[in-house]
């Protein structure tokens, strides 16, 4: 088997390497900023802590954001899984050697939007390095347990595929730390294992709950004859079903636990026709029904966590819709207080610190909370940016804002940059519920947001007041069917056009105040797929999540507002070329190129360059098909070409075309972001600090800043600032060994923003883009030996600055601070002088850039331009500032030169004079020199907190002010220069006089 895999992988790798030379590494210096937010986080699926570490080390598994680790009890987290699948189902720590951690990928809270996994991983070094250890086809793993008596024995509960039959499910066991796996409990290809428990005092005793479940795009079923509760007393060799006292079958999902301190005590929430809480005191042999609140028993498919205090078998926790706890062994439950603030509902994971059971962490649909009082009150961890966006948008303000809707966390907007960068405080809520499309109106005052099932509003950005704008059924329509994630779209050609889609397409030109229906039913209108009221299985569950035969995507051509495209969730792709008067369904043409008939049309991208060209993505994972479907038509949908690549491994959500380079496309998939620079022939993965398997749901290219905005379903929003190095990398360039890109004009200023204050504590912080365009060059290969230098020259050929430059393969970036070389600083102070690190900002004009790579030199120019937007500084003012800054630089250098001279003679007097101590003249001379020195610079200061300002400090301060000045200097600032110059002259004269007086004593240099 291993040989086969090796062979297959060699073939696979060789296929990969035969493709385009362009790859992610070429753009490695372009690091995306993760905007977070930490304000609202995302769904947490697993929490495990290291028992021996006082509860400081915690691992977190998330629905779409990978694995995170905190080493400080949640004060900060670090992502560990950026190279692997982001959907996490289960975590387990080998508590005997807590550097060993197992991760089961594929979340098992089986909601409509749940992602899929690709097996099990193991680390032996606390998460720095991971090894794939099998179970690759299981898709969902709900629990992993490590046998504490023999930590090579591991069990994995595998519910398995949600959308299709599969044999890769059941209970798996490994006896060699995950090297090989054996399936030890299996029912059928529709039933998986949802939970596994081990008796805390006898590791041979196991309990397993089996669960039959299935989703279809339009319905969900939890329960069936396959579900059941089982017990083994021989470590999984044989099993018996537990029935006594439990309700009649069929069962759905069973959540269960046992008390670690008294493992015969068990609790099970059994989904059935009589869903309820059942308690056993004899290791599951017999059960008694116990009345319980709705919070304890609701939504069993989604809330499958029940936990008992490690020390106290009476204290039972049920994190579910809300957080409930019992003090009497589960006979009654109380809900947590809101004393520490609101706690996000929908809970899926709980870890109790076994050494201090007052302390616990709960994982919700909106992040992690910590309690130090046994779950009564909770504090939110603001630093875990695992928000699950469905869509992103941006306006064109300065700085621009990003907008997006999040799974169970509403709709939000935040500035993309600003003083001090972007932090949690910048996020503003513009809608509740599950958020999806959040679209700014071109007027800059309004944003459209929605919650599940098409409940859309027009929201004032200033006041946040919202008005419902959802079109309603009139006598001329059937009942309206709104997708859970209903599209709200403004026109790419005419941004005043607002479109929304039920099964019909609606258009408004007055911000949703009036609507015109511009189509008939554009879906297949298959009635069999519209029985959502029957959905859920044993527990009814109709939350609009399964609404079907609806419009899912809408796109207006950027070239023509009368060309409108609509895609549905049931496979229809429709186009109108007359503003919606008539429609053509081209789905049959799509099918001909090899795309599944009923696949959701996940995105449509009409070209910016040619009215007949359109790209579209399709996704069919709800039928168990994970293929990446991407196609292009050049004849308005009549014929299609499927675009594919060996690196694509999961279903496609979004295709966008760069508005400048028509060969540059970006593709967002459930497992990674891809780009092509040759119109779709060859593709490469975008990494750039974006997790390699990120669930990329939406993409935008900002028209002014050239930023790529990436909306992920589990890692929040990323901004890859200024993608022009990618856009401009053509074949002609990548074939060269070295290429120095032209630098865009640089506007002369200190950046757009001032200092934004210290970094906020405990939140999430995204920085700002480079304050000025960087000098970019391309190296075909890493420079094997020698070094790279960037030099900047002015028009007279004078070198202003020499900078160490990168040698990496691909794009290298060097940032020039728009200044020359700082002045030299004389020694002798107890404090660093900032002037020694700054120089006047250059004047507008052309500057030469020389890239030196060993003996080779590459040249280009930079055009520095005056900042016309700065009303405080005319070009004449700028020159004035420059002249005076330069004058101060000279003065600073003169002062330092004089200090050096004084110090030199002081030193030589002592070191070269044998008779110094006896020679009074020399001693007086020495003391006079020191007097001058003490006027020129601070000499008494012994600490950075004991300020002493002398001439150098005064000059330094004024010089720095002029170097960073972005307005006309005021009269006192100009006068101050003269005062300092005179002060200098005075000291210089005193010095000269002293030297004349002591000319006989002077030791010549």
């Amino acid at each position: 088997m291993k040989t086969k895999i090796l062979l297959a992988s060699v073939i696979y790798s060789s296929l990969c390497y035969s493709q385009s030379p362009v790859n992610a590494a070429m753009f490695g210096t372009m690091e995306a900023r993760n905007l977070g937010p930490g304000t609202m986080s995302g769904r947490i699926t697993a929490i495990e802590g290291v028992n021996s570490d006082e509860g400081k080390t915690i691992y977190i598994g998330t629905a779409g954001g990978g694995v995170w680790k905190s080493k400080n009890a949640g004060a900060s987290y670090k992502p560990l899984f950026d190279k692997y699948c982001q959907s996490i189902g289960a975590l387990a720590i080998d508590q005997k050697n807590p550097s060993i951690v197992y991760v089961g990928t594929g979340e098992s809270n089986m909601r409509n939007s749940v992602s899929i996994g690709n097996g099990m991983y193991k680390t032996k070094d606390g998460g720095d390095n991971w090894k794939y250890i099998g179970l690759d086809s299981t898709e969902h793993i709900s629990r992993i347990i490590v046998n504490p008596d023999n930590t090579d024995i591991i069990y994995a509960a595998v519910p398995g595929a949600l959308w299709s039959n599969s044999k890769h499910r059941g209970l798996y066991k490994s006896t060699n730390g995950g090297e090989t796996w054996e399936k030890i409990l299996y029912t059928d290809d529709q039933t998986g294992c949802a939970e596994i428990l081990m008796d805390s005092k006898n590791s041979n005793i196991l309990y397993a709950s089996m669960w039959q479940f299935r989703r279809q795009p339009y319905s969900f079923n939890s329960g069936g004859k396959g579900s059941g509760l089982y017990k083994s007393i021989d470590a999984g060799k044989t099993w018996k079903e537990l029935k006594t006292g439990l309700p009649d079958k069929p069962f759905g999902r069973i959540a269960m636990t046992l008390a670690p301190s008294e493992p015969n005590k068990m609790w099970a929430i059994v989904e059935s026709n009589k869903t309820g809480l059942y308690i056993s005191e004899d290791g599951g042999e017999t059960w008694k029904s116990q009345s319980a609140t709705l919070n304890v028993t609701a939504r069993p498919f989604y809330f499958s966590t029940i936990v008992v205090d490690p020390k106290d078998s009476k204290r039972v926790y049920r994190p579910a819709f809300n957080f409930a706890y019992s003090n009497d062994g589960g006979f009654s439950f109380t809900e947590a207080s809101y004393g520490g603030g609101w706690v996000h509902s929908d809970m899926h994971a709980l870890w109790i610190n076994p050494t201090n059971t007052n302390v616990m962490y709960v994982g919700t649909d909106g992040g992690i909370y910590t309690s130090i009082d046994k779950g009564i009150t909770w504090q939110f961890n603001h630093c875990l940016p695992v928000g699950q966006f469905y869509h992103v948008a941006a306006d064109e303000k300065e700085p621009y804002n990003v907008y997006g809707g999040l799974q169970d966390n509403g709709s939000w907007m935040a500035q993309s940059s600003g003083p001090g960068g972007v932090n949690n405080a910048h996020w503003q809520n513009v809608g509740g519920g599950d958020g999806f499309w959040t679209v700014p109106d071109a007027d800059g005052k309004v944003v459209y947001s929605e919650y599940q099932g098409g409940n859309m509003s027009r929201v004032s950005i200033q006041t946040k007041k919202s008005e419902s704008i959802q079109p309603k059924k009139t006598s001329k329509e059937d009942k309206l069917r709104w997708n859970w994630n209903t599209p709200i779209v403004t026109g790419a050609n005419n941004p005043k056009n607002l479109y929304v889609g039920a099964q019909y397409l609606y258009k408004s030109t007055d911000q949703g105040r009036n609507w015109k229906r511009i189509s008939n039913d554009l879906t297949t209108n298959d009635k069999k797929k519209q029985e959502q009221e029957e959905s859920g299985g044993l527990s009814a569950d109709n939350t609009s999540a399964e609404n079907h035969c609806t419009i899912f995507t809408i796109a207006e051509s950027p070239l023509d507002e009368t060309q409108i495209w609509v895609g549905t969730d049931d496979g229809n792709l429709q186009v109108s070329t007359d503003g919606g008067n008539s429609w053509t369904n081209v789905s049959a043409n799509v099918t001909k190129c090899g795309i599944a008939t009923q696949a959701w049309v996940s995105s449509i991208e009409p070209s910016h360059f040619d009215k007949n060209t359109v790209y579209a993505t399709f996704e069919n994972h709800m039928y168990g098909d994970h293929k990446t479907y991407l196609a292009k038509s050049s004849d308005l949908g009549k014929t299609w070409v499927k675009l594919s690549n060996k690196e694509f491994i999961s279903f496609a959500h979004k295709i966008i075309e760069d508005p400048i380079n028509k060969n540059l496309l970006f593709l967002g998939t459930e497992m990674g972001l891809f780009a092509t620079l040759d119109g779709g022939t060859t593709w490469f993965k975008i990494k750039n600090k974006i997790p390699e398997f990120a669930l990329v749901r939406d993409l935008k290219i900002h028209p002014k800043t050239h930023d790529l905005i990436v909306g992920t379903h589990g890692r929040g929003i990323f901004i890859l600032d200024d993608i022009r190095p990618i856009r401009n990398l053509t074949k002609e360039i990548w074939d060269q060994d070295v290429y120095l890109f032209p630098t865009p004009d640089i506007t002369l200023n200190n950046g757009k923003y001032g200092w934004g204050g210290p970094e906020v504590s405990g939140g999430w912080q995204a920085g700002n883009p480079d304050f000025t365009p960087t000098i970019n060059y391309y190296l075909k290969q890493r420079l094997a030996s020698g070094k790279a230098t960037i030099e900047i020259y002015d028009a007279n050929g004078l070198m202003l600055q020499s900078m160490t430059a990168g040698i990496r393969k691909g794009i290298n970036k060097v940032s020039w601070n728009l200044r020359g070389t700082p002045p030299k600083v004389a020694a002798g102070s107890a404090k660093m002088d900032g002037a020694g690190f700054t120089a006047p900002m250059v004047l507008p004009g052309l500057y030469t850039v020389k890239l030196k790579l060993n003996d080779k030199e590459y040249t280009s120019t930079i055009n520095c331009i005056h900042d016309k937007e700065n009303v405080d500084l005319t070009e004449a003012d700028r020159k004035m500032v420059y002249v005076h800054a330069t004058k101060l630089k000279t003065l600073f250098e003169n002062v330092n030169h004089l200090i050096d001279s004084v110090s030199y003679y002081k030193l030589t007097l002592k070191t070269d004079s044998i008779d110094f101590n006896k020679n009074k003249t020399k001693k007086v001379f020495y003391s006079d020199l020191e007097k001058i020195r003490s006027e020129l610079m601070s000499t008494k200061k012994t600490s950075i907190f004991a300020d002493e300002e002398r001439l150098r400090e005064k000059v330094s301060s004024l010089y720095s002010t002029f170097c960073y000045m972005e307005s006309k200097p005021n009269s006192t600032q100009l006068e101050a220069i003269e005062v300092l110059e005179n002060d200098y002259k005075k000291q210089e004269e005193i010095y000269k006089a002293l030297m004349i007086k002591n000319k006989k004593t002077i030791v010549k240099p």
């Binding site: 992988s9 696979y12 590494a25 994970h626 040698i807 990496r808 601070n817 950075i944």
Partner: protein, 234 residues
């Protein structure tokens, strides 16, 4: 399913194929690439001088080392001079740039964790003698360059991960993880521009870190060193 399977294979592939070359082979080629064991064994002391460029200003760095005995780094910025000294038994920092007015002793933890710095030899020449464990972590990419990834773990549990360029067997990146005073810290250092010295060993002339890029301009191998520099000036 097929796609998932292929993903899994691809993942498996990266770990399987990387082990095609054994750890010993990689280490042997690395040692050969940096000048060979014999040449390295002749190095008893070394002095390097270089600069870090910062906003157009220059920071002078001089490092003086006696193998297995002492290490001193001198830093000069704007005429201000600071240093750090490390020996087997003590260590001092004097960083006036940070407001220090006199040398401060390092903590016992820092002394223990810093002992590796006394080793002038390449890590792969001494790891067995020093009782370090070696782990081959397969291949990884550093700035687009395919590397062997090898971890050394010393007796104190300090982990250092080395990224060795598979085309020339030079180390181009190193990550050190140390636990000092209750905090775990991770330092990343990059190496490039390897130059052959008169003694036949290859030394990286460009060393990058979070604190800037050090360009080495001069290397003295086996210079005469006044050992008093490793003691505090009285």
């Amino acid at each position: 399913m097929t796609k998932l399977f292929i993903t899994a294979i691809a993942i498996a592939c990266s770990s399987l194929s990387s082990l095609a070359q054994t750890t010993d082979e990689i280490v042997a080629k690395h040692i050969e690439a940096i000048g060979g064991k014999d040449n390295w064994s002749k190095i008893k002391s070394m002095r390097t001088e270089g600069i870090i460029k910062a906003q157009g200003a220059e920071i002078k760095i001089t490092n003086t080392q006696i193998d297995k005995k002492a290490n001193r780094t001198d830093i000069e910025v704007m005429g201000m001079k600071g240093y750090s000294i490390l020996t087997k038994t003590e260590g001092w920092n004097f960083m006036p740039f940070q407001g220090q007015t006199k040398p401060e002793p390092i903590t016992a933890d820092e002394l223990k964790m810093g002992q590796d710095e006394l080793n002038i030899q390449d890590e792969f020449l001494t790891y067995t003698v020093l009782g370090k464990k070696i782990e081959n972590l397969g291949k990884d990419e550093v700035d687009g360059t395919e590397c062997f990834k090898i971890k050394l773990i010393d007796k104190e549990g300090i982990e250092s991960t080395y990224f060795i360029d598979q085309s020339n067997y030079f180390t181009i990146k190193e990550i050190n993880k140390v636990k000092v005073n209750g905090q775990e810290m991770e330092n990343t250092t990059t190496y490039s521009n390897y130059k052959k010295t008169d003694t036949g060993v290859f030394i990286a002339m460009s060393i990058g870190s979070d604190y800037g890029d050090l360009e080495i301009s001069k290397i003295d191998i086996n210079p005469n060193i006044d050992e008093s520099i490793f003691k505090l000036a009285k």
